[in-house]
Amino acid sequence: MADKLKETMPSNDVNGTPKPSSPNADTAEQITMLWEYSPAPESSEHISISDKYHHFIGGEWVHPEKGRYMTTINPATENKLAEFAEGTSEDVKRAVKVARKAYEKSWSNLSGKERGKYIFRLARMIQEKARELAIIESMDGGKPIRESRDVDVPLAAAHFFYYAGWADKLGYAFPGRKADPLGVCGQIIPWNFPLLMLAWKIAPALATGNTVVLKPAETTPLTALKFAEICMDAGLPDGVVNIVTGAGQTGAAIVNHPDVDKIAFTGSTEIGKIIQKSIAGTGKKFTLELGGKGPLIIFEDAPIDQAVEGIINAIFFNQGHVCCAGSRLLVQEGISEKLIKKLKDRMETLIIGDPLDKNTDIGAINSRSQYERIMKYLETGKNEGAEMYQTSGSLPENGYFCRPTLFTGVSQSNRIVQEEIFGPVLTIQTFRTPDEAIEKANNTPYGLASGIWTDKGSKIFKTGQKIRSGVMWANTYNKFDPTAPFGGYKESGLGREGGLHGLYPYVNLTPV
């Protein structure tokens, strides 16, 4: 076609010679080809990832004391991305010592306005490097670039902007009381939203005058290390932010370090309980943001096509690796058949594949171990007698990919209904009356988030009051904003992050 065009369009006469005006309907090419989207991968060529990363302590890269390193891979290709230091208690000691010194010598002595300037700078630099951060987030964690580009990175920047604004206004946040920083905060973040969780933790800590020792998850350390580079470039005083990488033992070393004043943890309920036990009686403050098994309540008067879209966002966002994912669908009996049919049709249009492709809806499962855990749950579900439905499309050969999955014919007592799977797996139950929906929604150990779909505003509030969860979204799901507090009831956690409430865990309040 292109050659033919060149023949008919000589360069010195771009408009070509006029064609005879005979009808060309017979010769015109017929479009019979199926229209498919061509691959649209985001280029990773300009991304710089070092072969080896050390700890970031006191404003510089520090070799781990024991000299041990771990490897992080791209879960979509299983290729190695980089090595990073495995932190030991010696490394943690060093980091906490530096953080303490920075707290006493520089950071806590700065005025709120000065601290705010640094945090604003961090926020702007995240925006400037948004593209690079998004691509690395997708490479390291397997999430679709559409999400890391449109959700993770912009929200991370928004959190820094928001808390930067509070830094010099703490007197207004707590009228009549003086807000003093705590000291050194130990922060342990998960692998599902690495940079965003870092922002949730670091931004309020810095705004209130604390210093930080943060450990990213062992499968996704890269954006935290990139953030360390940003801290250096921003000229943040040395030791205010320290990043120690490693796995569970490194985290335990942070939790158990006697000179840490506060622990902020986001992760599994299992680890949350261990942390709570180990810091009992130490006087350390803590916030825990743990698991969830969010119910989605669809009433029969709901706008059904938009409810389907909401369900898709609730459970398939980030491959279901979302603590507040809506993983239990409760649908009113009268519309269940229609809704499930529509949901299945919609699921067929989800594009699964290369996380870096701009058209990908579902990326890779974060790690082999998580992949195996999800597969085990699929087996459990089938063994429990539930009916499994998965989409039909093909999966990439390499990497850890899981088809979007539905389970029907489940009961409240099934493990797949009670336990957090943390994958693209939705269970479907029906209900007949609002009371039954509320009872089923509340009948798990979790209480992080929930969703309700109905055309009737009063029903939203009436039902919402009785659902025990930290967040309830109405006619939408998975909407986040730095100004809104987030946290759980029951085994979903303690304390709130985000908004004005998110300042409390980082300050000591005394009457003026």
Binding site: N24, A28, I31, W35, P39, N475, T476
Partner: protein, 302 residues
């Protein structure tokens, strides 16, 4: 023979506007590149109802329009022709003659277009005249005043009567969504039109603002999908008015692909009612083939 039971049109299907807009904006993020883009541009070109609906239309202008529809861009003779030429009833004979021997359809607006403010007998006469003149397709308007009164049976009966008057000609029913205002009304009007026998449902006359929008189109596509699932009948869709850029056209194609599927991605089931879109598509096609943009002056304004 199966007896089709009419739904109760006084029942309103709830639609959440925020949710619809969110879905549209997510679909707009689809990245269409390279071969996929070229194919989509050509596909869009082949779906255009090339339209002139002005009081000053002349035979000469209609003939020019038909020539453009046959050969959209002479330097690229292999491009597909446009789908149809859409004119007023009095211009149908001219268009029909100019399009003789081609696959391009002659479409005519009828039923006291664009307001529809006439008695049914006049609307039927208008339709029959256009069909007698040789129209392959009739674009009718619904009586929005009666619809907004809640007189849904009136709308249904009127569409059914016009459908009968069309005979073998295809019927496109213009809802004039800009005057219906809410998405719930759009959905209801779509359902009435399809149950009354529409072959296509169409957003707008192009004489009222806003004309076609993507949220409105998405709601209509969802109505078509639900109608297909209920009855097994495929109804076509035609957004009309306000679509001027190739990029928007591709966004509409994405909406169709991901709502109705590939079966609807043909001129038999999807059309663009537009006039200035043709040249933008042509410019983009030439850009895809040569790597450089041509000046607008190289493309004929017909």
């Amino acid at each position: 023979m199966s007896v089709q039971i009419q739904p109760d049109f006084s029942y309103t299907i709830p639609i959440d506007t925020v949710g619809v807009e969110e879905r549209v904006s997510r679909l707009n993020k689809r990245s269409i590149k390279k071969e996929s883009k070229l194919l989509a541009l050509k596909l869009a070109l082949s779906m255009i109802d090339h339209t002139t609906l002005e009081g000053k239309d002349s035979e000469g202008k209609i003939i020019q329009l038909c020539n453009k529809a046959r050969i959209p861009y002479a330097p690229l003779p292999d491009l597909p022709p446009l789908a149809a030429v859409c004119v007023y009833p009095t211009m149908v004979a001219t268009a029909k003659k100019a399009l003789l021997g081609t696959s391009i359809k002659t479409a005519s607006v009828a039923t006291a277009f664009p307001s529809g403010m006439a008695h049914l007998s006049i609307k039927l006469a208008d339709t029959k005249f256009a069909v007698e003149q040789g129209a392959d397709e009739i674009d009718m308007v619904i009586s929005r005043g009666e619809f907004l009164k809640g007189n849904y049976n009136f709308i249904y009966d009127e569409i059914a009567a016009v459908k009968e008057a069309c005979g073998r000609a295809h019927l496109k029913v213009i809802l004039e969504t800009g005057e219906l205002e809410t998405l719930e009304n759009v959905r209801k009007a779509s359902d009435i039109a399809m149950h009354a026998g529409a072959d296509f449902i169409k957003t707008s006359t192009g004489k009222v603002s806003p004309a076609a929008t993507q949220p409105v189109t998405l709601v209509m596509l969802e109505a078509i999908r639900d109608f297909y699932n209920e009855t097994g009948q495929m109804v076509g869709m035609k957004p009309a008015g306000g679509i001027r850029k190739a990029k928007e056209a591709l966004q509409y194609l994405v909406l169709v692909k991901e709502t109705l599927g590939d079966a609807w991605l043909t001129p038999d089931y999807f059309r663009f009612g537009a006039s200035s879109l043709t040249n933008d598509l042509l410019m983009q096609i030439v850009k895809q083939l040569t790597g450089v943009y041509q000046g607008i002056h190289y493309f004929s304004n017909d």
